[in-house]
């Protein structure tokens, strides 16, 4: 009894559902580690931008006292001070979370990763608060 040959057929799978880089920053459904990742990446990008802003501003020094002191005048205005606070927060978090990522990322204190993130977040927050008070409240 001859029978039709059945060629082995594998269904052609469709593409994977990938969120792409947008998924890095999507806070929905994130848990602690996920927030750490988002904040670390955002603050990192922010600090790179600041690095070059900082270099550009420092270039004013070459043009002598006039340009620099004029800039400092602007730098003390409230909007720029707000920027400073944000910058402080970003730097503190990135640095402290960096310690977590550095340690845990090399396989040390791995079981403490949650606590380290919380500590980084809290300390960064507090110090930023203190910084903000000093920047806005007390002497310059």
């Amino acid at each position: 009894m001859a029978s039709t040959t059945v060629e082995p057929r594998r269904p052609e799978p469709g593409p994977a559902r990938r969120r792409g880089f947008v998924g890095w920053f999507d806070p929905r459904g994130r848990r602690l580690g996920g927030y750490a990742f988002i904040l670390n990446r955002l603050s990192g990008i922010g600090l790179v931008v600041y690095l070059y802003m900082h270099l550009v501003i420092l270039s004013l020094l070459v043009q002598g006292p006039g340009a620099w002191d004029a800039f400092v005048e602007i730098a003390l205005s409230p909007p720029v001070l707000v920027f400073d606070v944000v910058l402080l927060a970003g730097m503190l978090f990135h640095g402290l979370n960096g310690i977590r990522v550095g340690l845990v990322g090399m396989g040390l204190v791995v079981s403490r990763q949650r606590a380290l993130f919380i500590a980084a977040f809290v300390v960064a927050g507090l110090v930023t608060l203190v910084g903000a008070l000093r920047i806005f409240g007390g002497e310059g």
């Binding site: 969120r19 848990r31 396989g107």
Partner: protein, 248 residues
Amino acid sequence: MTETAAELRTTRFVVSRRKEGDDPGELRYDTFDVAVGPRSTILDSLVSIRRELDPTLTFRHSCFHASCGTCGMRVNGREGLACVTPVPEGGEVMVEPLGNIPVVTDLVVDMDAFYDEFDEAGRPLVRVSEMIPGAEMAEGIDELERYEDCIECGICLSACPVAGSDPRYVGPAALAAAWRLVDEPRGRDPGPVLRLMDDEQAAWRCHLAWECTEACPSGVDPAAAIMRLRRAATAARARRLFSFGGTR
């Protein structure tokens, strides 16, 4: 679910569909209204959709109790095993296939590539079972055994933001399997696997989002495994560096 009629509530399910030949660019969803009981799981609802509303709805399942790993999917954007994920209260329920894994049909994903990476680790299926406090071993038993926690469901790969943007990344499951082999070789040589995973596309790609560990339904903690794998890899490099001749 045998529930009295009073306890049933109608819930709207929005289920992702895909058949061979569909336009990959355009996602397709079907809506189903399903009677849901207090103890209904997503899998129960999908089974009743297939039985009563649409027999062509395809989804993977086998054990019904989070032990086989076939029914991983995204429910309202969050990874989980359908068999132990209760139907969320209130509002629509969006059911989609796992992310970062090719979709074959509807909620079924193609696990071949996942297993290619997984097999590189060659992790044994059975491990030493941690003793129940005070327990002794029965006569004739020289080692208490139990299955590895990882049920190969792919949920960690779906939850990983790095895998979400880069298909080359080996993924948390394979790395956790490699760590298990390094941690408990059971007669196999972990050296080659450690070198294999000591790579920019493997152990060193992780950015510690820890989403894989949070999503894992089986308590494997792949993120911690990746970190310990890195430490082992670094130690192995150091040994190779400082050993005589250095090329051992």
